[in-house]
C-alpha cells in the first residue's frame, strides 16, 4: 500500500508535468504566432509608411493647349524612390492620359506610369467627351480645373488651375 501511494504520486506528477509542458508548448506556439504576426504586421506597416514618406512628387506645370484641346500636366518625381502614377483626376473624373506622341511624353503602360527618381513626365490629357454645346469640349475661359495625380502608395498631389 505504501509503495502504491508512491506510484500514484509519481504518475500524478508525471501527468501534471505532461499537462504543464503541453500547455506551455501551446502557450509558446500561440505567443510566437501572435508575436510573429505582430512583428510582421508592424514591419509591413512601417515599411509601407516609410516608402510612402520617401515618395514625393509634384505637378510643376500645367499648360492648356486650346488648339489641340489638351491639358499638359508635368509631373516630376522629387522623392527618394521610384514611383508609379496610377490615376489622374480632372474635376473628379478619372482621365487616362493619351498615348505617347512626342518626346518626353508619358502614358500609362498597363495601369500605371513609372517615374524614376528626378525624372519628369508630361501627361497629355485629352478633354473628356463633352456634352455641353456649344463649347463642344474645349474649356471655358476662367473655369477652374482641379487636377489630382495619385500614386500606388496612396500619395496624391493636387493642382488647381484656371482655364486661360
Amino acid at each position: 500500500m505504501w509503495s502504491r501511494r508512491g506510484i500514484s504520486t509519481v504518475v500524478a506528477n508525471m501527468m501534471m508535468i505532461g499537462v504543464t509542458l503541453s500547455l506551455a508548448a501551446i502557450l509558446v506556439a500561440w505567443a510566437g504566432q501572435s508575436y510573429g504576426a505582430f512583428s510582421g504586421g508592424s514591419q509591413l506597416f512601417y515599411q509601407q509608411r516609410g516608402q510612402a514618406l520617401q515618395e514625393n512628387f509634384v505637378i510643376e506645370e500645367v499648360f492648356f493647349n486650346k488648339t489641340y484641346q489638351q491639358i499638359f500636366v508635368f509631373v516630376r518625381n522629387v522623392g527618394l524612390i521610384n514611383i508609379n502614377i496610377v490615376a489622374i483626376y480632372l474635376n473628379g473624373s478619372s482621365i487616362t492620359p493619351s498615348t505617347a506622341t512626342g518626346h518626353g511624353w508619358c502614358s500609362f503602360s498597363g495601369t500605371s506610369a513609372s517615374l524614376g527618381v528626378g525624372s519628369v513626365c508630361e501627361f497629355s490629357l485629352t478633354w473628356p467627351s463633352c456634352s455641353y454645346p456649344p463649347n463642344n469640349c474645349p474649356w471655358v475661359t476662367g473655369n477652374i480645373f482641379y487636377i489630382v495625380v495619385a500614386s500606388t502608395r496612396g500619395n496624391q498631389v493636387a493642382y488647381t488651375a484656371r482655364g486661360p
Binding site: S42, Y46, G50, R76
Partner: protein
C-alpha cells in the same frame, strides 16, 4: 528505500520550477525580441520621417528671385564652356537666340534648377506661343542645343546674387526664330517658371514692368528716355552704322549707330514716332516724324540748339525729349501739361514743355489728350526751349554726369488737391554710362 524515493520525487519540484522558469523566460525573451525588432522598425521609420522632414524643410528654404533686368539677350556668339551660334537676330552662323537670366538665391540652401518653362502671352507666334512650341521647355545640357539651358549654371549657392543662367532658343531662319517678345514700353509678355530639384517652382514675368517712386498716378522709369532733334542736325540722319554712311560722320560732329525701328522699338534702336499732323519733326507725306535715339547730345548739337542763358527760343536745331511714364495708381487720369528740367550741377539746364503724349501708337496733342488707365504706359514728349549750358558738359566733367530730372508738376490734370496726385516725379535720371557722347578731340563716336 521508499523514503529515499519520496525524497527524490520531492526534490524534483525544482525541476518543475526550472521548467516553468524556462517557459516564462522563453516567453519573455520572445516578447523582448519582438519588441526589439518592432522598435528597430519604428526607429527606421522615424529616421525616414526625420529625413523627409529635413527634406521638406530644405524645400521650404528654397527662395529664388529674378533680379533686374530679368533676361538679357546674349550678344556674343560663343558662350565659353557651352558652345557657339548665339545671336540676336537670324543671320549667318546664328543658330540660337541666347538669353541670360539673372537669378538670385535668397534661400538658405543650395538650389539645383532642373527645368525652365517659358510661356509667351503676347501676340500669337511671338516667342513661346503657338505655333511655336508652347510652352518652351528648357532642360540642362552640357553643350548648347535648342531649348536648353547651360548645365554648368544650374546650381545656385545659398545667398548667391545675380547668378547667370544661360539658355538658348532656336533660330534657324528669320521665320523660325524664337525671340521672346520684349515690348517697349516694357510690359510683361513672358511667364518664366523655374523648377528645382526639390520640386519647388518659382516664376517671374518678363520684361519687368517699371513702377517706381510709389506715385499715386504716375511714375518715372529711370533711364527710359530718348532724344530727337531736327534742323541743322537731324536724328533721322543718324540711324544706322556710321561706316555705312547712313548717319552723320565724325567730322560733322555727330554720329550715332542705332538702327531705325518703328514704334514700339526695343532698347538700342532709333525709334520712329509718327507725330501725325502736329507739325513736330520732319514731314513725309501729310504726317510728321521724329526719330528718337538713346540719350545723346553732342557739343555741336547743343551749340546749335542753344541760344544762351535765358533764351526763350531755340536755335537752328530743335531738340525733343520723350520720357516713358506709367500710371501706377489706381485711377485713370488725363495729362494736361508738363515741364522738363534737366540739370547739371545746378548751373546747366535743358528745359522744355510738354507738347503731347504718345499713347497706343498715336501722338495726341493737348486738346485731345487721352485718359491713361491704371497700369498703362505712355511717352510724355517735351519740346526743349531753353539750353543754358555754359560749356560742353562732357569735356568739363569726366564721365557721364549725374542728372536730376524734375518734370510734370502739372503733367496730370491735378487729380486730387495735392502735389502728390499731380504726378510730380523726380530722381536720378541716368545711371552712369547711359548717356552717349561724342569726343570731338578724338573724332570717334562713343
Amino acid at each position: 528505500m521508499s523514503g529515499s524515493l519520496i525524497f527524490r520525487l520531492r526534490r524534483r519540484r525544482a525541476v518543475s520550477t526550472m521548467i516553468g522558469g524556462v517557459i516564462v523566460l522563453s516567453l519573455l525573451l520572445t516578447a523582448l525580441g519582438i519588441m526589439v525588432f518592432v522598435t528597430q522598425q519604428f526607429d527606421q521609420y522615424q529616421q525616414t520621417v526625420n529625413r523627409m522632414a529635413q527634406y521638406r524643410n530644405q524645400q521650404l528654404s528654397e527662395d529664388l528671385v529674378a533680379t533686374s533686368p530679368g533676361l538679357t539677350l546674349v550678344t556674343s556668339s560663343t558662350i565659353p564652356g557651352w558652345g557657339s551660334g548665339c545671336g540676336t537676330t537670324a543671320g549667318t552662323g546664328i543658330t540660337y537666340i541666347c538669353y541670360n537670366a539673372t537669378i538670385s538665391n535668397l534661400g538658405e540652401v543650395g538650389v539645383q534648377i532642373t527645368r525652365i518653362y517659358i510661356n509667351s502671352t503676347g501676340a500669337a507666334g511671338l516667342g513661346c506661343s503657338y505655333p511655336n512650341p508652347a510652352p518652351c521647355i528648357l532642360n540642362p545640357t552640357s553643350s548648347i542645343t535648342a531649348y536648353s539651358f547651360e548645365e554648368a549654371s544650374e546650381f545656385l549657392n545659398p545667398g548667391e546674387a545675380n547668378h547667370a543662367v544661360l539658355f538658348a532658343l532656336p533660330c534657324t531662319s528669320v521665320t523660325q526664330c524664337v525671340i521672346l517678345p520684349d515690348p517697349n514700353p516694357a510690359f510683361p509678355q513672358n511667364s518664366i517658371l523655374i523648377a528645382t530639384s526639390r520640386g519647388t517652382v518659382f516664376s517671374f514675368q518678363w520684361p519687368f514692368q517699371v513702377s517706381v517712386f510709389g506715385q499715386s498716378q504716375s511714375a518715372y522709369s529711370s533711364g527710359n528716355m530718348k532724344v530727337a532733334y531736327t534742323g541743322t542736325y537731324d536724328s533721322k540722319n543718324e540711324p544706322g552704322p556710321v561706316a555705312a554712311g547712313s548717319g552723320g560722320t565724325a567730322t560733322t560732329g555727330y554720329c550715332h549707330t542705332e538702327s531705325a525701328a518703328s514704334y514700339p522699338a526695343a532698347a538700342g534702336y532709333a525709334e520712329e514716332l509718327n507725330m501725325g499732323t502736329s507739325g513736330y519733326g520732319d514731314k513725309s507725306g501729310s504726317n510728321y516724324y521724329l526719330w528718337f535715339v538713346n540719350p545723346w547730345i553732342t557739343s555741336t548739337i547743343m551749340t546749335s540748339a542753344s541760344c544762351g542763358s535765358g533764351c526763350s527760343s531755340v536755335g537752328s536745331t530743335q531738340v525733343y525729349i520723350y520720357v516713358f511714364l506709367i500710371n501706377t495708381g489706381t485711377t485713370s487720369y488725363t495729362p494736361t501739361a508738363g515741364t522738363i528740367d534737366l540739370t547739371w550741377y545746378g548751373s546747366n539746364h535743358i528745359d522744355g514743355y510738354l507738347i503731347g503724349v504718345y499713347y497706343n501708337g498715336a501722338f495726341d496733342i493737348p486738346s485731345s489728350y487721352p485718359s491713361i488707365p491704371p497700369g498703362a504706359s505712355y511717352y510724355a514728349v517735351f519740346k526743349i526751349t531753353i539750353f543754358t549750358i555754359g560749356n560742353n558738359p562732357w569735356t568739363v566733367q569726366s564721365g557721364s554726369p549725374s542728372i536730376m530730372f524734375w518734370g510734370g508738376a502739372s503733367i496730370t490734370n491735378g487729380y486730387g488737391s495735392n502735389n502728390e496726385n499731380q504726378g510730380f516725379f523726380s530722381g536720378t535720371l541716368l545711371p552712369s554710362g547711359l548717356w552717349e557722347r561724342y569726343e570731338a578731340s578724338s573724332g570717334s563716336c562713343a
